[in-house]
């Protein structure tokens, strides 16, 4: 009898131990229970550190964007960790501007029990990698994907970057009012998801505004010699050339256009929104018009503080990608504090409740489509700097 009893005790004890193991395994990490805190909003206190993963293009074609993003995230991390209540641990991994590499980075984050994933840098890459997080139920915040359809991938995919569909119509409208556009030539690289979707938005925005498209010229995302395309464009004598391209193509395109004596304005998509344009195209970049999600000239307290801190830490001013990355961490912090929990589903729920959050980008709300809403700004390159077109 005694023997039977002791066996029963041992058995039930081991069942308890097993149950304990499996319950802590549910959250995907050893500290899953610790990710729930007490209080809410500013008074929220979470004992464990909330793990955030970022997949950024630190090498490859989009490396110049990824580098800015990393700086923005790290600056935000310092600011957030200086506050009381919730501490974050940020892991940045390189997606190599390569969808396959991004997929394995995402798989790694999913397996590591990361609360939220930021990234990847390019829309093209995002379409391949983000479904992995959606399937595993890990919330993703895209901080630079602007293609249509990113957030349609599932209810765990959010973004704080304005879409091309939000920015480009505003750009075209402002340019039309200012320059009196009647007919334009459109150029785009037709083998990249981002530039292709940018082109579609440009096309429909131009139609809506009653601007005639006299010619549409396609090129490859890897092309660097645009002289013959530009000569063709010049022959149609357009009022402006509207271009959907990444910065790698934008710089040679702009330089070669000016060299061929095309002095009409060039209107670019979000890919043009990079200080490298002025640095590497020099004089040729003057007069290029770019719509942007972030206005460096904005004097909101959030933006001035961000610009000052960035300049102090890195010795150079931020760009839009850094600003969106910084705002991304703020949004995640807000989402974590709403339910005072770093659990994946709680963060997802928190992200749906972001409303009028003050950030360097302006006052951000996340709408029912999980896209960010805030005003855009139309810029023109003047004296080697982006100025507001007005």
């Amino acid at each position: 009898m005694r023997k039977l009893l002791s066996t029963a005790v041992v058995l039930s004890a081991s069942v308890l131990v097993l149950a304990g193991c499996s319950s802590s395994g549910d959250g995907g990490g050893a500290s899953a229970e610790g990710l729930k805190g007490t209080g809410s909003g500013d008074s929220c206190v979470i004992d464990a550190t909330v793990p955030v993963g970022a997949a950024l293009s630190l090498t490859g074609g989009a490396a110049s964007y990824g580098e800015s993003q990393q700086k923005g995230l790290e600056l935000a991390l310092e600011d957030l960790n200086a506050k009381d209540g919730v501490k974050y641990e940020l892991t940045v991994e390189d997606d190599g501007t390569d969808p396959r590499q991004a997929m394995s980075v995402f798989e790694g984050f999913v397996a590591d029990g990361t609360s939220t994933i930021i990234g990847p840098t390019l829309s093209n890459t995002a379409f391949q990698a983000q479904p992995i997080a959606q399937e595993a139920g890990v919330p993703v915040l895209a901080i630079s994907n602007t293609a249509t359809g990113i957030t349609e991938q599932g209810d765990f995919i959010f973004r704080d970057s304005l879409t091309e569909a939000q920015v480009i119509p505003q750009t075209i409208e402002a340019a039309k009012d200012k320059l009196g556009l009647k007919k334009v030539v459109v150029m785009y690289s037709n083998d990249d998801a981002f530039t292709e979707s940018g082109f579609q938005v440009m096309e429909s925005a131009l139609k809506d505004q009653g601007v005639e498209i006299v010619d549409t010229l396609k090129f490859s995302v890897k092309d660097t010699d645009f002289r013959s395309l530009l000569t063709t464009a010049k022959q149609s004598d357009p009022d402006a050339i509207v271009v959907s391209a990444l910065i790698e193509a934008a710089i040679p395109l702009v330089t070669q256009a000016r060299e061929l004596g095309i002095d009409q304005p060039i209107i670019g998509g979000n890919g043009f929104n990079n200080p490298a344009l002025m640095k590497d195209a020099g004089e040729a970049a003057e007069g290029v018009i770019v719509g942007a999600a972030w206005n460096s000239a904005s004097d909101s307290p959030e933006n001035t503080a961000f610009m000052k801190a960035f300049e102090e830490k890195y010795g150079a001013g931020p760009d839009q990608f850094a600003a969106q990355a910084y705002a991304g961490m703020q949004i995640i912090d807000h989402a974590v504090r709403v339910n005072c929990s770093g659990e994946r589903t709680d963060v997802q729920d928190g992200l749906t409740q972001v409303k009028d959050l003050p950030t360097p980008l302006g006052s951000i709300s996340i709408n029912a489509d999980r896209d960010a809403e805030h005003p855009a700004v139309v810029q023109i390159v003047k004296d080697g700097k982006f100025a507001v077109l007005n």
């Binding site: 013959s228 040679p252 060299e259």
Partner: protein, 292 residues
């Protein structure tokens, strides 16, 4: 008219690249597939020179020419010479030169990183010269054509008139007989590689200047065009490479103008098949009779 000029500029870079390619083939009967990597390496090296020492572009071109020559010697020594006595030396050299090219690119990535790099703004004056009726050429483009033509003419004279050229032609004809007649075949081989790669190196810098960007993969983008050029022109023929380069360059440009930009490569490479059908030896090539 402007398109013709665009084609001429593009074509002269293709030609300069292809002439280096075809020189090694014509004289040594070897295909050096490390050539595209040397093309990229030289562009990066040239940009580094410009960036770090603020040298005038003429001096950069001279140094890059020398850099290319040294690189050529290394490629020959590492990838080709150890294999020269093997019965399958052609094929073995082809493959080992691909390996060499891969190593050069990996080294470049380690040193310079993967980002696109550019010559600093103002390396070449961006003035444009107008030929009336809206046809313009930049100073840079004229420099490109002048440097390309100059090097090609210089090379033709070198091969046709000089003592070194005579040895080269002797080796091309029959390496064994040349050796018996007292020609230092190893030295001629090394020199040929040096000249070939030096031309490719200058082409790399000119290309990077022309499109205002240099990427690690820039060589592989031009490699197929270069092969098309030497086939169109005739394997091993120097004037053939020049004319072939111009033909491919102009064909591309006009394909964009009249057919559509997505069809560019289709037209350029279609032309290759067409010429091979009509004139299998290429425009300037001679029919080779192979003795067994």
């Amino acid at each position: 008219m402007q398109q013709l000029l665009n084609g001429l500029f593009l074509g002269s870079i293709y030609a300069l690249f292809a002439i280096g390619f075809t020189l090694v083939f014509g004289i040594l009967d070897r295909l050096n597939l490390a050539h595209p990597a040397a093309f990229a390496a030289s562009a990066f090296f040239g940009i580094w020179l410009s960036d770090s020492f603020d040298l005038p572009i003429a001096l950069v071109l001279v140094i890059v020419f020398a850099f290319g020559a040294i690189l050529g010697l290394i490629i020959e020594r590492v990838a080709f010479r150890p294999l020269k006595d093997r019965p399958d030396a052609h094929f073995a050299g082809l493959i080992s030169s691909i390996a060499m090219g891969g190593m050069i690119i990996a080294l470049l990535q380690a040193v310079f990183g993967p980002n696109t790099r550019r010559f600093p703004v103002g390396t070449v004056p961006d003035d444009a010269i107008e030929f009336g009726a809206g046809v313009t050429a930049s100073v840079l483009q004229i420099v490109i054509v002048a440097v390309s033509l100059g090097l090609m003419i210089g090379l033709t004279i070198l091969v046709g008139r000089s003592a070194l050229g005579r040895s080269m032609r002797a080796v091309a004809e029959n390496p064994g007989a040349a050796r018996v007649l007292g020609v230092n075949v190893d030295r001629v081989t090394a020199t040929t590689f040096a000249i070939s790669t030096a031309l490719g190196a200058v082409a790399g810098v000119l290309f990077a200047l022309s499109v205002n960007s240099a990427q690690l993969g820039m060589g592989s983008a031009i490699e197929l065009k270069g092969l098309a050029v030497i086939i169109v022109g005739g394997m091993g023929s120097l004037p053939g490479a020049l004319v072939g380069g111009l033909i491919i360059g102009i064909a591309e440009v006009f394909a964009i103008q009249y057919v559509g930009s997505s069809w560019r490569d289709l037209i350029a490479f279609g032309l290759l098949f067409l010429i091979l059908l009509v004139r299998p030896q290429g425009l300037f090539g001679k029919r080779k009779v192979r003795e067994v």
